[in-house]
Amino acid sequence: MSDVLARSARSAGRTLLTRRRAYAWAAATAVLLAMPFYLDRFWLQAGLFAMAAAIGAIGINLLTGATGQLSMGHAFFLAIGAYGYCVLAGDGGDGLTGLGLPTWIAATLAVGLAGLAGGLFSPIAGRLRGAYLGIATLALIFIGQHVLFNAHDLTGGSNGRDVPPLHLFGLTFDESEAVVAAVPFGAAEKLWYAGLVLLLACGLFARGVLRGRPGRAMNAIRDHRVAAGVIGVPVARYRAGVFVLSSMYAGLAGVLLALVFQRTVPDYFGMTLSLEYLAMIVIGGLGSVSGAVAGAALVSLLPQLLTRYSDALPLVSAPGSGGVAPGEASRYLYGAAVVAVVLFLPGGLVRITARRGTPTPGTSSGTSSGETA
C-alpha cells in the first residue's frame, strides 16, 4: 500500500522535474538565440571562443574522460582543422597555397583531414597507454609547431594566414552587414548561430555515443582494459576509433576558431592550448558532455573576463606602481579558481547539478563520471 503511494509520489515528482527542466531548456534557448541582438561584439566573440572550445573539449573528453587515454596533442588536431580549412578554401590570392574549394566543402574536408591525421596516429595510440601515450602525443605538438612555423607556403609562417569567410546557403559569414530587426549583423552575430548549431549537433552526437553501447565499452576500457577485452570489447579497435573521433571534434573546433579569429597564427596552437583542454575536462567533469561544455566555458571565458575587468579587481595597482599588475592578478585568480574547483568539486562542475539530482549521495561516488551527460 505505502509502496504504491511512494511510487506515485515519485513519478509525480519526476514529471515535475522533467517539466521544470523543459522550461529551463526553453528559457536557455531563447536567451542564447537573443544574445546577438543585445550583446556587443566582445561578448559574442568570447561566447564563440567558448563554443569552439566546448566542441574541442567534448572531443578530448570522449578520449581522455570516457576512454582513459591521455592526449597532449589536442592542439595539433585543432591546428589541422584550422589550417586545413584555410588551405582547402583559400583562393591563392595571397601567394599561399589554396585549392579554392567551396567553403562548406572545405570545412567538412578539414574535419575529415583532422580525423585522417588521428587515424594515422592511431596505431601508436592503440599500443600506448597512460603517461606513455601522453608523451607520444606531446611529440605531435612539437612537430606541428615546427611545420606551422616553417611550411611557409601552406601556413604563412609566423604571421599566419587569412581565413576565408564561410559561405553557406547564400549567406556569407563575414563583416558585410546584414540588418536583422534593425540590428546590424556582422561576422560575430552570424557565426554565433552557426556555432550554436554545431555545438548542439556535436553535443547530441557525443551524448548518443556515450549513452549507448560504444560508451559503455569505452568506460569499460578505461576502468579495466583486460576485463573489457574478456567480455568481448575489441579494445584496440575502440581505442583507435575514439582517437579518430576525438581528432575530428578537434578539427571542427579548429575550423570554428579559425572563422572567429579570421586569421590563424601558429603561436596559438602550442602546448598551453593542449593543457587548457585537459584543464577544461578536469574542471568540468571527466567523461560527460555537459562537463566538457561547462569546463570549456569556464576556462575560455575566465581569462578574457579577468583581463576586461582587470581595472576593477581588488588589490590591483596601476601598471608600473610596483604592486600586482592587472594581468598578473587575473592569472592568480584563474589559478585559484582552478584549484578551488578541483579541491571542492572533485567530480567537476557537473557535480553541482548532479548532486541536486541524486537524492542519495555516496552511491554515485564510486563510478564518479560517465553517466552524468
Binding site: 541582438f37 543585445y38 604571421n159 597564427v265 601558429p266 581569462p303 608600473g320 592587472p326 594581468g327 598578473e328
Partner: protein, 418 residues
C-alpha cells in the same frame, strides 16, 4: 511536457525576442556617431572632454620587460600632456589591456577596446596585429605597433615607427663594412630567430649581401635556444668575418661570451631587441663591451639631448626602481607621434579617426627628441630608414653609448621588402 507546449513556448520566446529587439541598444538609429563640440568634429573614442587611447601590451608574457617600459613611458607622456592642459582642451586617457602574448586574449582585447578608443598607441606582437589587420582596415582607427617587421607595412592605419628590422640589418652590415673592416667577398654569419622578427632581418642581410658581394652563413634558432655554442663553432668553421644576431638579449650574451671564450675575435652586431642593460652585470659583460654593437632606430635613452635628459629624469622620478631601456624611448616616441597627430587633427578641427589619419599623413619630419626625423607621409614605407649604431657601456645611462650617429646606408635607398 508534450510537443505542443514546447512549440508554443518556442514561438512565444521568438515573438518576445523580436518585440524586444526594438529596444536593443545595438539597433541602428540613423546617427553615425559624429558630433561637434566647440567647432571640433569628434567621433568614436572621444567622450566629453576625454580622448581615449587603447594600449594592447604584454606585461606577463614573453615581452614582459618591453611591455612594462613602453607602457610606463606612454603613461608618463599622457600624464605630462594632461598636466599641460591636454590636447584641444581634451584630456588623454590610456586604457591598458595586458594580453600576456596570448592570441585569444589579444584579439578579445582589441574587440573590447576598439569601439571605445580613438586609436591604439601601442600594440605588442606582430602576429596579433596581423590577426586583426583586416578589421583595422574596416575600423580605421590608427594603430601604432611595437614591432618592426616589414610585414606590417602597407596598411594605412597600421604605422611602424622607425626603421624596420630589414633596414636596420642593412645599416648594421654597412657599419661592419665601413668601420670594422668587412669587405667584398667576405662571409658574414647571421643568427636569427625563427619567426617574424628574425625572418624580416634576414631579408635585410640577404639584400645587403647581394649589393655588397658578401656571403651570408645562416643559423636559424628558436626563442627557447639559450646556448649559442653550436652556432659559434659552426660560424667559426665557416670562417665568417662578422656576425649579425637577430635574437633576444640572452642569445646575444651567450653568442658574444662563447665567441670571446674561444678566442673567436669578430665584431658582433645585433638588432635593437638583442640587448638589455641587465646583460652588463653578467659574465658576458666585459666581452659585450669589447666586441658587441647594436643597431637601433633612435638614439638611446642615455643620449646627450635635451629631451632624452628630461625623459630620464622624469622616468626615474616616476619609476625609481625600474631600469631604463630602449622600450622607454620606443614607448615615448610612439605616444609622442600619436600626440602630434592629435594636435594636427585638432588644428584641422577634426578629431575623428579619419581626421587623425589625415593629420598623420601630413607629418613628414617629426622628432621626439631622439635624433631621427620620422616621416609618415607614405604608408607603404617605414617612417625612417636610418639607424644609430650603439655599443654597450657600463658607465652610460641605459647601458648604451652612440658610436655612429643616425644615418641610412646607401643600400637602403630603393630597397623595398619583398
Amino acid at each position: 511536457m508534450n510537443t505542443l507546449t514546447r512549440a508554443t513556448a518556442a514561438a512565444t520566446a521568438l515573438a518576445a525576442l523580436l518585440a524586444l529587439t526594438a529596444c536593443s541598444s545595438k539597433a541602428k538609429d540613423g546617427d553615425d556617431g559624429s558630433k561637434s563640440a566647440g567647432g571640433v568634429k569628434t567621433g568614436e573614442g572621444v567622450s566629453g572632454k576625454t580622448i581615449n587611447l587603447g594600449v594592447l601590451t604584454d606585461m606577463t608574457g614573453v615581452y614582459a620587460t618591453l611591455g612594462k617600459s613602453v607602457t610606463q613611458a606612454q603613461q608618463l607622456y599622457v600624464d605630462q600632456t594632461n598636466a599641460d592642459g591636454g590636447i584641444c582642451g581634451h584630456k588623454l586617457k590610456l586604457t591598458v589591456r595586458d594580453h600576456g602574448y596570448d592570441p585569444q586574449k589579444a584579439v578579445a582585447a582589441y574587440t573590447e577596446l576598439e569601439p571605445k578608443v580613438l586609436g591604439f598607441a601601442q600594440f605588442i606582437g606582430s602576429p596579433f596585429v596581423a590577426a586583426v589587420e583586416r578589421r583595422i582596415e574596416g575600423d580605421r582607427g590608427l594603430v601604432l605597433p611595437q614591432a618592426w617587421s616589414s610585414n606590417l607595412l602597407g596598411n594605412t592605419y597600421v604605422r611602424v615607427i622607425g626603421s624596420t628590422y630589414d633596414l636596420e640589418t642593412i645599416n648594421a652590415i654597412d657599419f661592419l663594412m665601413k668601420e670594422k673592416g668587412l669587405k667584398k667577398g667576405d662571409k658574414i654569419g647571421h643568427v636569427y630567430f625563427e619567426g617574424d622578427y628574425g625572418e624580416s632581418a634576414l631579408k635585410g642581410s640577404r639584400h645587403m649581401a647581394e649589393e655588397a658581394g658578401l656571403t651570408v652563413v645562416e643559423q636559424k634558432i628558436k626563442p627557447t635556444d639559450n646556448d649559442m655554442t653550436a652556432q659559434v663553432s659552426a660560424l667559426k668553421k665557416a670562417g665568417v668575418k662578422g656576425i649579425v644576431i637577430s635574437a633576444g638579449p640572452r642569445q646575444a650574451a651567450s653568442l658574444v661570451g662563447v665567441a670571446a671564450a674561444g678566442r673567436f675575435d669578430v665584431p658582433v652586431i645585433g638588432n635593437n631587441s638583442a640587448f638589455a642593460p641587465q646583460l652588463l652585470a653578467t659574465q658576458s659583460g666585459p666581452a659585450l663591451q669589447k666586441n658587441y654593437y647594436v643597431a637601433s632606430p633612435t638614439l638611446p635613452i642615455g643620449a646627450d639631448t635635451e629631451a632624452a635628459k628630461k625623459l630620464v629624469a622624469d622616468y626615474k622620478k616616476a619609476h625609481p626602481k625600474d631600469s631604463l631601456d630602449n622600450g622607454v624611448v620606443a614607448g615615448w616616441t610612439a605616444a609622442a607621434v600619436f600626440g602630434e597627430a592629435l594636435k594636427k587633427a585638432c588644428a584641422d578641427k577634426d578629431l575623428t579617426r579619419a581626421g587623425v589619419d589625415k593629420a598623420l599623413l601630413t607629418i613628414d619630419a617629426f622628432d621626439s627628441g631622439f635624433g631621427v626625423p620620422q616621416d609618415f607621409t607614405d604608408p607603404s614605407s617605414p617612417s625612417s630608414r636610418q639607424s644609430v649604431i650603439l655599443r654597450p657601456s657600463a658607465k652610460a645611462t641605459g647601458g648604451m653609448k652612440v658610436v655612429r650617429e643616425p644615418q641610412a646606408a646607401k643600400a637602403t635607398e630603393g630597397y623595398t621588402a619583398g
